[in-house]
Symmetry: C2
Subunit: 284 residues, 2 copies
């Protein structure tokens, strides 16, 4: 989806948060915001929201010399998620409609980044949101494809959310599963290192998409990733950034996320805060 | 208080809202945001937040030719406030600590502009918030000055909030009351015309401050206003914009407002959402 004007002040807010994680020096923070404002003037040069996001976070890196301002936040979120992991498994164990709730657990993990910005306690938030149902759920279509599925590609989103995805993945271990991540640290998005810290089963192939934006821009992905992406029986895309980059892709993708902003919610036809499993092809 | 980095994305958000009120044309909205980003690059040239605010809203006026994008919103808010007015009077009538609650009613009127941005129903919001107490209330100091007070200057904030101020003013009609407003339309701030539409008692002198920023910048005010400002026995300043422009003034001012953003709340030592009657001199 194309960049909306509403995204621009939101980007600036995010960059300010990132600059404060990377440095305490006000003068550097000011220089970052001024460069961000310069970038916003040329936002129309960018096709996708994640491309602008990447450029903005590059400004933070350039001014502070900190290549991964979210490193500590990511480690903390993975740790918290690992501590919740047994209760997630227990939650799923009690459910009859196991696939639905495994997907819902993975979607609930998508609250991790809101937690960073809104000073929310992840544990209590998960507890509150785990039991809420999907607002849109193309489960029937998903189940149909799952019958003949051999290869499942999951395109990950945030570090910590990875542990929630693990719960979903562990129900699919009979399949050939590929879990794709960013090629390098960007915001709090998961890299291969973060997945490793999330204790994934060794049978799961963890792969860099080749793209270092906070959303998988297909044109920028590696040929190895594209080979899998084009031939996987099912592709699950996690989070808003991936949705923003891939919502108009031709191949069928299941977008699994929590709608966190009015722009994405509106595009998905849901309310802010709603959970969604939505195929870009189903019902067309 | 000086401009904080947090204000910049917030300004951009406000300008986007204003541009959408002034025009439906996306290309014009884009041009406004691009010019706003240019302005943000030079934000350090401005001393006060309301000075930047004014410049930004000038961009909207320049691109759209609409001199008062909030005209309809202001008229609607005054109408709503007038419809609530009898219930405000009744609320006050039942209270024992009449001065405290008259001040609290005027402070509650300060929610009017949040309502614009957050799609809140003013009536139900007022009902919910009217009964909540001040978090900081320098009432003792206010009462002390009131004993010998002959001239009271109130520096107004938003259109509609004016009607809430009327309830406070009507308890002071034995005094010489001056109600100061912006010199021309800016955002949803009250002008003389808006006060007129709010049915003020004729004995109240309504005066333009001479300043057209969304916060009264004393250096820009008319000599007529300054004469009253310097000699009034009590000055009440309504809202965040006036606080941002006048918090470091030498004369004693009672700031009467709802803290709507973390920056102002922090400066006042309260939480976001708290109501405040605070003298800049008391307790020093």
């Amino acid at each position: 989806m194309e960049i909306q004007l509403d995204c621009l002040p939101c980007f600036m807010r995010q960059v300010l948060d990132a600059s404060r994680m990377a440095t305490d020096q006000l003068e550097i923070q000011k220089a970052i915001i001024i460069d961000t404002a310069k970038l916003i003037q040329n936002y129309e040069e960018y096709k996708y929201s994640p491309s602008v996001g990447r450029e903005m976070h590059c400004i933070v890196k350039r001014h502070t010399g900190v290549s991964d301002p979210y490193k500590d936040v990511k480690a903390r979120n993975i740790k918290t998620a690992l501590s919740i992991y047994p209760s997630l498994k227990h939650f799923l164990f009690k459910k009859k409609d196991r696939l639905y709730w495994a997907l819902k657990i993975a979607a609930t993990g998508n609250i991790i980044d809101s937690a960073i910005y809104n000073d929310i306690d992840v544990e209590s938030q998960v507890e509150k949101e785990l039991d809420s149902e999907f607002a849109v759920c193309d489960l029937e279509r998903f189940e149909k494809l799952l019958k003949d599925c051999k290869t499942l590609l999951i395109i990950g989103d945030n570090a910590g959310e990875t542990v929630f995805d693990r719960v979903l993945i562990e129900d699919f271990l009979c399949l050939n599963i590929i879990y794709a991540v960013r090629s390098e640290p960007i915001i709090n998005d998961a890299t291969a290192e973060d997945v490793c810290a999330s204790d994934f089963n060794r049978s799961i192939k963890v792969l860099s998409s080749g793209c270092n934006a906070p959303g998988t821009i297909i044109e920028e992905c590696s040929s190895e990733f594209l080979e899998i992406y084009n031939n996987a029986d099912i592709v699950i895309s996690k989070g808003q950034g991936n949705y923003e980059a891939m919502s108009e892709q031709k191949r069928e993708i299941f977008f699994l996320l929590k709608a966190k902003c009015p722009i994405v919610a509106d595009r998905l036809g849901v309310h802010v805060g709603d959970y969604v499993l939505k195929s870009n092809k189903y019902g067309e």
